[in-house]
């Protein structure tokens, strides 16, 4: 297709040079490190991150204004955090003039729609300083994640140390050293549609094409992340971060599995979801179409 990875100025494999971040990070610690750098250098006043809540593994949008607060929220949560819900509040009760936000591709779409069509986002459009997107195949409501982990994998969410997707499996690491690997088709994947939230099935973006910088594990070796630098803002901040030694990088064409795999997965996701959008026109032979958000307002 050629457009599946969006516009980008630069693509590398990278990881943070900060050992404390790497220790807690999902992969290369890109998001935490880049926000840390941006906070310390006044590029952002605070960042909307997926912070902890009173339930295990349930993220809650949280505005981190210090590095300490930022360090409370590393890693991938695999369920929904309504990041945008704080975007106006960040400029109000938190008084931020330069906002950082991390989110999924759809949340990056929401940020950009909010900047061009700020129907209810007074004073927000000019204050987005750094929007970091994360690669995303699909997301889960909290109850789905609970179903998967506590029912299928038979481990309490509060005993889970880390979760990740890799090598065709969903991996759950328990606190006492247990490792549970579930085939992805148990949980979903674009073609299977099981526990993911239905809204993901019409999503046409895998690598957060509308972010300033987007990142994810796919394409890079273990412990590293693939990074796309997309906008002038992103390019500027990334260059400064590299200059100050925040990241080790390798050219993406020198790592395995590299861009090819990202393209393949992006095309798989977009292809399957485009098909879903089409099928919504006559689902199970229904006489009326389901709404298509990409064409019409109606």
């Amino acid at each position: 297709m050629g457009t599946e990875l969006g516009k980008y100025k630069l693509c590398v494999s990278a990881r943070s040079t900060d050992k404390a971040i790497l220790k807690k990070a999902q992969d290369g610690g890109i998001v935490t490190q880049l926000f840390k750098f941006a906070l310390e250098n006044n590029i952002i006043d605070g960042a909307i991150v997926a912070g902890p809540s009173d339930e295990p593994w349930r993220p809650r949008p949280f505005i981190a204004t210090t590095v300490e607060e930022l360090m409370m929220s590393p890693g991938t949560k695999y369920n929904i955090s309504p990041q945008l819900s704080l975007i106006k509040e960040a400029t109000r009760s938190y008084g931020l003039d330069k906002i950082g936000i991390v989110g999924t591709p759809c949340q990056m779409q929401a940020v950009r729609k909010g900047q061009l069509y700020p129907v209810g986002l007074r004073d927000v459009p000019d204050k987005i300083a750094l929007a970091i997107g994360i690669f995303c195949m699909e997301n889960f409501p909290y109850q789905s994640l609970k179903q998967l982990v506590e029912d299928h994998a038979a481990i309490k969410l509060k005993s889970v140390k880390k979760m990740e997707v890799g090598k065709g499996k969903f991996w759950i690491y328990g606190e006492r050293g247990q490792v549970i690997a579930m085939p992805l088709k148990w949980i979903g994947e674009a073609a299977h549609h099981k526990y993911e939230q239905p809204g993901c099935h019409v999503c046409l973006d895998y690598v957060a094409n509308l972010s300033d910088v987007s990142t994810g594990s796919v394409g890079s070796p273990d412990g590293w992340s693939t990074v796309f630098v997309r906008t002038k803002k992103g390019d500027n901040i990334w260059a400064k971060a590299i200059e100050s030694g925040c990241f080790e990088t390798k050219p993406i064409d020198q790592v395995k599995p590299g861009l090819e795999l990202i393209s393949k997965l992006a095309n798989e996701k977009i292809g399957a979801n485009q098909k879903t959008v089409e099928e919504r026109k006559a689902r199970c032979g229904a006489h009326k179409e389901l709404r298509n958000p990409y064409i019409s307002v109606k």
Partner: protein, 273 residues
Amino acid sequence: MPVKADAKLKAEISKKEDKPVADKIKAGHVHMSGCTGCEVAIADNYEGLLTLLDKYVDWVYDLTLADVRHIPKMDVALVEGSVCIQDVLSVEEIVETREKSALVVALGGCACYGNITRFSRGGQTNQPQHESYLPIGDIIKVDAYIPGCAPTPQMIRNVCVMAYLLLKGNKEQQELAKKYLTPLMQLAERGTTACGCDLMYDIINQGLCMGCGSCAAACPVRAITHEYGKPNVNREMCIKCGACYSQCPRSWFNFDVIPEFEGIMELIDGAMK
């Protein structure tokens, strides 16, 4: 010496006066039954409003800002407020606005959807019989909506710049402005009722919600929280402004405009300098 400086100043002044007046569009603010909050939102562009007036817009009608008694011919009429159908003058004025304007834009929740005026039961001094308030789209044809209570200064700014480009820009700019304004025109075609319930009917029930939280941020009365990762509207609090639905990236999303956000933001920034 002072004489020389004076002469120089005079020359400069006359030079400025010789400069042709910018080719602006004619726009105005028509005040129906609203709280003037939409008008304040226009003014809240601060120095940006002065730039808009300097370069792009002749503000030809505005009860509070321009000394003009009767609705003149306009390129764009921004209408604030709903229409009280028991008030003959209001009905006449909205009809006249339509007749004299190339484009009628409903500015704010009341003009688009009735908003808070939907809850009117009349009974107010000194016209207690004024009880029925309709969005302007129930009386006249409306070309585009800018929902929200209040609409945001930045949205008004963006629409003003795009309206200017549509009417006075080069071919490429006209094309962009048309694409940008299309969803706002389609909102006008969609109807004159709005509610937080739209999130249920047209987003969640349609299997489109992905729980981003845009609706909760857009809601001016904080009526929206998230349950099971999806918006939950406190329907007693909802004022029916339509902001949540319009802000939602799954109500409409135009792939021919939004991915160009960087260039468009630069264009608008440049236009406002």
